[in-house]
Structure formats: C-alpha cells, structure tokens
Symmetry: C2
Subunit: 334 residues, 2 copies
Amino acid sequence: MSAAPRARKRATITDVAREAGVAPSTVSRAFTVPGRVNAVTRQHVLEVAERLGYAPNAAARALESGRTNTLALLVPDITNPFFAGVIKGAERSAAASGRTLVLADSQESAAGEARIVRRLGPAVDGFVLAASRIPDDDLRRIAELDAVTLVNRAVRGISCVVADYEAGTRQIVDHLASLGHRSLLFLGGPPESWSGARRWAGLRTAASERGMQVRRFGPYSPTLGGGAAAADAAVAADATAVVCHNDMLAIGVLRRLGERGVAVPGRMSVIGFDNVFGSELCRPSLTTLAERPEDAGARAIEMLGRQAYGGVAVADELVLPTQLVVRESTGAAR
Amino acid sequence: MSAAPRARKRATITDVAREAGVAPSTVSRAFTVPGRVNAVTRQHVLEVAERLGYAPNAAARALESGRTNTLALLVPDITNPFFAGVIKGAERSAAASGRTLVLADSQESAAGEARIVRRLGPAVDGFVLAASRIPDDDLRRIAELDAVTLVNRAVRGISCVVADYEAGTRQIVDHLASLGHRSLLFLGGPPESWSGARRWAGLRTAASERGMQVRRFGPYSPTLGGGAAAADAAVAADATAVVCHNDMLAIGVLRRLGERGVAVPGRMSVIGFDNVFGSELCRPSLTTLAERPEDAGARAIEMLGRQAYGGVAVADELVLPTQLVVRESTGAAR
DNA sequence: ATGAAAGCGCTAACAG
DNA sequence: CTGTTAGCGCTTTCAT
C-alpha cells in the first residue's frame, strides 16, 4: 500500500567500502585501475561488491568525468527496414565497446531532430545522425559542441559514412542500358533527402554518359502508400523504366502496376534502392541497389567513438560499396 | 592539431546564474518550479539560458534525485520486424512523456539479457523486457530492484502486456476447421519462448474442443532460414495444415514449399504469427495472426512510467486483442 | 522571492 | 598501496 514504490536502495561504493573495511577510493580503484591496488584487497573488495549486488552508478561517473559512455542514434523513421538495419549495426557495435546506445526517432522532421539533439546533448558523448534533415550550417554548429558522425549525408568538416551512389547509379544505368532501355524515369522522394539528391545526381551523370534520357517526377512519399500516385504518373508518362527513391516506394509502385494490369517487366521495368526485406518477397521480386545498413551503423558508431574517446579529430569520410541485386522487376525494353 | 578534441565546454547552471546576476538555485527553480520565482526574474533567466545554449545536465540531476528520466527497452532481436514495431511504439511513447529511451539487443540470450539489466540498472528508471528469456525467479528478483514491465511474457507479480493468444489461436483453429481441416501441425520456435508456449497451448485447447488432431514439431529457428527444415518435416509428415511459430519461419516454409513444388494452399495450408511487413508481400501471401507490436511497446512504456514515476505499485496485466488476417496461404483441405 | 550551503556517488589529486 | 579531501552540476533544505 506504500505510495512511494521507488526501488529499494541500491548499494553504493560507500556501502561496499564500509562492508569491506576500506576507503571508497580503494573500491573505486579496484574497479577502474586494478593495477594500483593490492591483489588480495582487490579480490576481497570485488567479492563484497558482488555480494551486495553493487553496480557503478553511471550518472555519478559521468558527472565527474564529463563522459556518459553513452552514444545517441537518431533516425528519421524507425519503421523503415533500412534504418532498422542501421540500428542493429549501431547497437551491436556500441555494445561491443561497452557503450550504451540511446535511440531516437525524429519522425522525418528537421526541427524535431534539432530538439532531440539539444535535449540529449549533455547526456551523451556523441551523435550518429542517420539521413539527417538538419541544414548544413546547423549541423556544423552541432558538431562544434558534440562529436558527430553522419550516415548517408556528407557535410564538409564532419565525419560520415555514405553509400557509393556514384558507382551504384552507374550500375543501374548500365543494367538498364544493357536491356535496351533508352530512357529512365526517376520517381523522387522527400526533397530534403540528401541520399535522394545523390541518387538523382548519379543517375543523371551516368545516363548522360550513355546518352540515355532521364526525367524526374515527384516528390512522392517514400512509403508503400506513395507508390500509387508514382505508378500512375509513370504510366501516364509511358515510361519503360522507372527508378524509385527507395524500395518501399518501389514496392508500392509494383503493387499499383499489378492492380492496373501493367506488365512488369514486360511493359515497364522497376528498380528500387535499399534491398529491404520484402524486396525479394514481392511479386515480381524487385531489382534494387543494395546498401549495407548494418555496416553503416556499426562503422558510424566506431568512427564516433574514435572522435568522442579516442582523441582523433579528423573528419573522415567512409564510402561503403553498393551492390546491384537483379531480380524479376527488370527486363528488356519493349 | 589539438590532441584533445573534446567538445567545447557546455554552459552550466552556474554560468547562467553568474550571467544573469542571480544564484544557481534561482536558475534551478526557474526551470523546475516556475511558480516559486518572480515572473520577471524567471523571464530574464530563461533568456540568458537560451542565449548561452544552456541545457540541464541529466547526469547531475539524476545523481541528486536518483532518477534518470530514462527507460530501457530490451529485445531479443532488433531485426525481427515484430520487435521493430515494439521499438517504434516504445520510442514514441517515451518521447511523448519527455523520457529518453535506451535500446539494447539481448541476442536471444538469457545471460546476455541479465548482464544488460545489471549494467543498465543504476542508469535507468525501469525496464521494458520484450519476450524475455530470463527465468521467472530471476525476473522477480530484478523487479524488486527496478520497475519492470514485460511484453509477451507473464510472471505473477510483474506488470505485463500480452497478446490474447487464447482468442487468437481459437480463431486460427476455427478458420482451419471451417476449411475442412481435421488436423494441424505446429512448427515450434525456441523452447524458452513464452509466447511460443502460449501459442502451442492455445492451439491444443482450441483444437481439442473441436476434435481436431494436433502435433508439434521443432524447435526450429524462428527465421527465414529455419523454414527449410520445418517445411521438409511437414511434407514428410504429410500435413494438410501447418501453423508456424512466427511469420519469419512461415515465410521460410512457404519459400521451401515453393521450391519443392508443393502447392499452397492446394496441398498444404500455412499460417504464421505476427503479420510482419512481408507477410502480405510473399507469394502466396500469408494468413497470419496479427498482433499490435506498436501498441504493445507504447502501452508497456506507459505502464512502466506509472510504476517508476507515478507511485502505482500494482502489477497489472494488459491483454491486447489479436486479429486473424486471412490471405492466400490457407484454403480448403484436400 | 531569493541566496547560501549541503550532498547525491564517484573519481582524481594529494598525502602518507 | 591506501586513506583523505575536494568537487563534478544540480536540487533542496534552511535562512533571510
């Protein structure tokens, strides 16, 4: 019936010290600098600590050192399987180095993202910002105060992990060209999306090198639901090959095309980006440019850790290879 | 060229106080108990704080109050789309109440889970344990020290959010019976899985009520990869209807069956649990029992918050409805 | 309404 | 090798 159900008091370093008959600092050292304490004493301290169920209080440690041993990961949308992969990689990497990972969803909003960064700033040692929507200048300001690593976004002076869209889009264009396509239509996603811009830029360049026509429609919502409008527009434009901003949109397009009786790839070829779970499940299965979300997440955390803990100040850029996965949704031009 | 790239020093409450010409305690009050400080003073303090980019240091606050305003979510596997939904719901709910969410992946290991709980204990105000693998007794011990809410696991004395497997499995059995099936084969997942046990128990009960035969094979890995062995066993047993531990396994089964030329649902009907993204994409699309992962995550965080902050000590159990989604993978018995 | 001072748990000098 | 002391940023009595 107690009105204050707060957890039972946890054992502190002082409790352990008293119980073990040593000074608190000795307990502290037993945990953090084993070399500077008598082996026997240390053993005894550890046993007492174990018996009392002692675990160091991270907040207190953080207050002293200014380090929380915690890293934050911000994604625009947790639901998107691509970011789920990034999260997994980041979590694994953080856990491997004994760091805690805080996760936040900015809900595709630059303002929300900035708010979260501000709020979490003092509580974490750095941020991995995936597909950040924050403008370049604001990002630089943030990077002055906190360690930051970007994923699929590049800003001069800030570390980042990006997919090799240049090579990837070239692969896409080559693939379509080899199938006899003379033009392609890009169905774009959110205008603020850096990766969307890179994808489009890459396609333009590669296409122009091959004398292929390109057009761009959109923006469409990068979700299953966005596919209907995109597909209708593509049909109206009589496109023979469409490249979609991402797989979710592409799968939505495929679905709409199916409903409308448009043969894929017979009448129209469809390509996506991301190779999410589901792209190999849909019918026809989707040709797509695979990235490495887990790698990206893991490497970003590593780079961030080096910045936050390792004393390395250089802003390096890591380019991750992409891979074209050809499935059923692409075929010879009509 | 500096070897210590540590972030620029952040403004503290003392900085704000000095700059605003008031005492630190006044600044503190301006933020936490607005009523007890002069409106003009408060306004001034807030302006100065804003100008200095001040944000309260969560660690310091936590040290004083014993509360970190942080909640932890543990899942067995981030990659599983079901848990991705739980994560999303939890994140949204935590953010809505101004709480920080820490995410950890226990990698399907009870020991790993326990280790994480121990490590994070002092740093968070409570745990949401999704599909926990930790034994009942250990769970109770943890719940004595920390606020805990379980998802898809029930232990007397601990709050939980569970799916209504009793009704759900009855729906499954009714559906199969209405199609003329006289028996069903359950392809089981991990033996430690509580939800797996509930699913199997529900199927048994419902089937016996309807005079339907049930068998159980397994355990199989609850992943796409686990599907091959499971499918082969089902074929060898000449089953007419199989119910799989979850959708990932079911989709794997579907794929294997497709490779082996076994008609679905002509020769064999297949049912899954979870209704993950992908279950409507595969061919044939999958009949499955839908849960509400996002709801579960969100409600679990709410219940946990009530425990950790609200002074409510009762261990309540929330049962979330399930819904049978009938698609192409089930049909009349041969 | 506001200031001064103590203390949360821990680590890091500094002594001894 | 180990104990003592101070202080991290903040909240919270207790005065004023």
